[in-house]
């Protein structure tokens, strides 16, 4: 088994930026594959997270109605949640909402509670999943782009930028390029990706004390609204926007959208008014013309497409794995389960967890804002998943992701990472 990744570091596509909420599926399309995957994924995450040292913050969420138009929609949302089997949701009054969330603006009118929604670490979890595959015999090829392929006598010869790979079965999980890869290799695609950008603004850590649960919007005809959420790293974020675009790579941010998000945040959580902005980021959802994931098997050609994993793929990931394995097994493939699988421990980056700086022998703190140690950085720069870009190192350690954004640590970081990155942070006169 091999994972082939175009970028120098994994999680460089749609997965590089999301809200990091483990969804219950309360508002997913009823009867969809997406709903099945979210709910199976949710269940499996809860089964494995403790053994793998992953984080789960059981914050719950409130879907808040801020206008009469929104309040009118709450009944429908509640019915949908119950229909989706999320039975613990209920309607509450504004005063009860404010009892749970005293910092929320008092123009909230009513809300639905979704106690099962949780916060997780959007990068450590997928890294741990892949690490487990590697520990149990898989391989990973990075900076390796799939460009085409031939299927002959029950075997694929996949052309990549690093040479050709022979395999019996292919699973296309190319995210924002899912349709492109289908087309390049199979010659056809059943869907077309229209990337939907989501911008976020992250506030100073001090802001996280303003909120307990996730504050979800009521989608209306006019607006989808934005989410207010804490992160397991101890920040508070507002976003995402939803902007359709053609580019599959351009996750740029723009001032007008960020200022709109800040204003929306302050409107709902007035305490944000005097909180500094720590970071601004954006992600691209692999949306298609359909209202569901696009997962299908071409059994005759040993090909499975996992496409259009649009806005719930972090929650759905483990469920998608189960779903795909079922499809794969239906084609007659059989594998004995691994007798005693290795269970790796995930990186601990959540603020509440046993972070590396809490135990002796770490050398020095390199990134002061996020308290990232030299020991953590050196570890992330080695092994089969070694960070080969600043982006990758950020996702593995959180360096430069805090309030100073590299003011204090860039120089030390440039020194430590010399020779490790394809795009170096700096050059010296003695460099090659």
């Amino acid at each position: 088994m091999a994972v082939v990744e175009k970028a120098s570091d994994i999680l460089d596509g749609a997965s590089k930026a999301n809200s990091a909420i483990l969804h219950t599926g309360f508002d997913a399309p009823p009867g969809s594959v997406e709903l099945t995957c979210i709910q199976d994924g949710y269940r499996e995450y809860r089964e494995i997270y403790a053994d793998m040292g992953l984080v789960l913050e059981e914050t719950g969420a409130f879907v808040v109605g801020w206008s009469d138009e929104e309040v009118a929609k709450l009944e429908g949302i509640l019915a949908k949640a119950h229909g989706n089997g999320v039975d613990d949701c209920s309607l509450i009054s504004a005063s009860e909402l404010l009892r749970h969330e005293p910092s929320l603006a008092d123009h909230a009118k009513a809300a639905i509670t979704v106690p099962g929604e949780c916060l997780i670490d959007p990068w450590s979890a997928p890294y741990a999943y892949l690490q487990q595959a590697l520990d149990n015999g898989a391989e990973v090829f990075v900076s390796c782009t799939v460009t085409g392929g031939e299927f002959e006598a029950g075997e694929w010869r996949i052309a990549t930028s690093r040479g050709s790979l022979r395999t019996r079965q292919v699973i296309n999980c190319a995210g924002l390029y899912g349709d492109v890869v289908d087309e390049d290799v199979l010659g056809v695609t059943d869907f077309h990706i229209t990337p939907r950008k989501g911008q976020f603004v992250v506030f100073d850590k001090a802001a996280s004390s303003l909120l307990n649960a996730v504050i979800l919007p009521v989608p209306t005809s006019r607006t989808k609204g934005v989410v207010l959420f804490r992160t397991v790293f101890g920040n508070l974020a507002v976003g995402p926007t939803a902007e359709d675009q053609d580019s599959r790579d351009d996750a740029s941010s723009d001032k007008a959208a960020i200022e709109m998000l800040i204003a929306a945040g302050v409107d709902k959580l007035p305490g944000l008014a005097n909180m500094p902005v720590t970071a601004v980021y954006a992600g691209l959802r692999p949306a298609t013309q359909f209202q569901d994931y696009q997962i299908s098997a071409d059994a005759a050609r040993n090909w499975i497409t996992v496409g259009g994993i649009r806005s719930t793929g972090l929650s759905g990931a483990l469920g998608i794995g189960q779903y795909v394995f079922k499809l794969y097994s239906q084609s007659g493939a059989k594998h004995p389960a691994i007798a005693d699988p290795v269970v790796p421990r995930a990186k601990v980056l959540a603020q509440s967890g046993p972070r590396d700086w809490k135990s002796a022998g770490y050398g020095e703190i390199v990134c002061h804002c996020e308290l990232v140690t030299a020991r953590e950085i050196n570890k992330a720069l080695s092994g089969p998943l070694a960070a080969r870009s600043l982006q990758g190192l950020k996702r593995q350690t959180r360096v430069t992701m805090g309030r100073c954004q590299g003011f204090f640590c860039s120089a030390r970081l440039a020194e430590i990472t010399t020779g490790h990155f394809d795009e170096p942070l700096s050059e010296g006169d003695d460099d090659e």
């Binding site: 941010s253 500094p276 902005v277 720590t278 022998g361 003011f407 120089a411 942070l425």
Partner: protein, 423 residues
């Protein structure tokens, strides 16, 4: 060793922290410990490879790194203990600190703690600049550390954004490493720093564009260009391989923000104002009287010499406090004077409180103000009833220091408010 009783802990070993330490030792305080998270103490000057530093303190002109070493040597000789590679991660009520180092986590405490964590520049994110997020967008501090501490360069042809003093020292830093800035841009109609440094870019052959705003940053992996806009809203693209965001200093007040100390960040007419540092009284005493603050953390931004002097003074007042000689208690509201600003053109006024009874011989002599734009008019200080306590004519610019004598604000008063406005 750390289990012995510590009298005063100083967080941060920059000019202000080290001079506070020296002063405390000279005043006879037994055990004074500086906690510094970097491998060397000395603070920002460690990576300011240019002169002039040290005139006020040592009557000599040093480069930043020489000056930093001199400060450390002076402190060590005075008996100040300096623990480097030691980060304070949490400040708790009553002078208790959570600290981490290679030894792991420990809780330490002292009778008094002086916060001297300095300032940094505002990063790209908090300036809310449109565009992609490629490599090569840095603040001056990061550039200086790369150039002077590591001898590396992050880019070769950057655009410099801003015209504060630090922006001009950035040109020197660039030159030192063979970096050739392609332009220096300033949103305002005039250079922020005082003349004659404004002539400096011309002398260094860096084109200076006033009335020019950075619109967006372009580039995939690394910076490829910036888009700028002039006063007539015409846009153009400048090719470059980096963006140096200079100045817009902000106190490194993390511990206070995430802890229990009151921060000066009031909303004035819908805009956030204030120093961004902890609220202090004229002794640099914070809202928890076990904590004091000194140096640029108090307010953005002054020189090393100014910060050094402030450290020395706050050190002395802390020594007085330990001896039981410091009057008043900033926690007692109503009986102290609260200084506020009522006009968003005023950026901040520091100190934000005057503890009473007022002792003219002790404490800061002036309230320091800064403005967000060029301003002409009369600066007025009123009491809570609108009675004018003090006024002066005002003709100043962004980031220029304006000093108002504390003595003029406190005459025959027993508390209440002082409100600053411009009329």
């Amino acid at each position: 060793m750390m289990s012995n009783k510590i009298d005063v802990i100083i967080i941060g070993g920059g000019p202000s922290g080290l001079s506070a330490g020296v002063e405390l030792k000279r005043a006879g305080v037994a055990r004074v410990v500086v906690l510094e998270r970097e491998p060397q103490a000395g603070g920002i000057p460690r990576h300011c490879g240019h002169p002039p530093f040290g005139m006020r303190e040592f009557k000599w002109i040093y480069t930043g790194p020489q000056y930093a070493r001199k400060l450390v040597k002076t402190a060590v000789e005075a008996g100040v203990e300096i623990r480097t590679l030691t980060s304070v991660v949490e400040a708790l009520p009553g002078g208790k600190l959570l600290v981490t180092s290679d030894n792991g986590v420990e809780k330490i405490s002292a009778q008094r703690v002086i916060y001297a964590t300095g300032v940094r520049e505002t990063p790209r994110s908090a300036r809310i600049i449109s565009g992609s997020r490629p490599l090569g967008v840095l603040n001056t501090g990061a550039l200086q550390s790369m150039v002077y501490l590591k001898h590396r360069r992050p880019f070769k042809r950057p655009v410099i954004v801003g015209t504060e003093l630090v922006s001009f020292s950035a040109i020197q830093t660039c030159r030192h490493m063979g970096i050739r800035p392609v332009a220096m841009i300033e949103q305002a109609a005039r250079v922020t720093a005082r003349w004659p440094v404004g002539l400096f870019p011309m002398l260094m052959r860096v084109p200076l564009h006033l009335n020019t705003r950075l619109v967006s940053i372009k580039g995939d992996k690394r910076v490829e260009a910036v888009e700028v806009e002039n006063a007539s809203r015409e846009r153009r693209v400048i090719e470059c391989d980096g963006v140096l965001l200079t100045g817009q200093f902000t106190p490194e007040a993390t511990l206070a923000r995430c802890g229990h100390l009151e921060i000066d960040a009031p909303s004035v007419g819908g805009s956030i104002r204030g120093s961004g540092g902890p609220v202090v009284d004229q002794y640099g005493r914070c809202s928890d009287p076990a904590y004091f603050a000194a140096g640029n953390l108090l307010r953005p931004v002054e020189t090393a010499g100014w910060s050094w002097n402030e450290g020395r003074q706050v050190g002395r007042w802390v020594a007085d406090d330990l001896a039981g000689d410091l009057a008043g208690d900033p926690l007692v509201t109503g009986e102290n004077i609260h200084i506020t600003i009522a006009d968003p053109i005023i950026k901040f006024a520091m100190p934000q409180k005057i503890s009473l009874p007022y002792k003219p011989e002790r404490g800061m002599k002036h309230v320091q103000l800064r403005f967000t734009d060029s301003v002409k008019g009369t600066l007025v200080a009123e009491d809570g009833q609108g009675k004018v306590m003090w006024q002066c004519s005002l003709n100043t610019h962004r980031e220029r220091r304006v000093l108002v004598p504390v003595a003029g604000l406190v005459s025959e008063r027993s508390g209440g408010e002082i409100v600053f406005r411009v009329v």
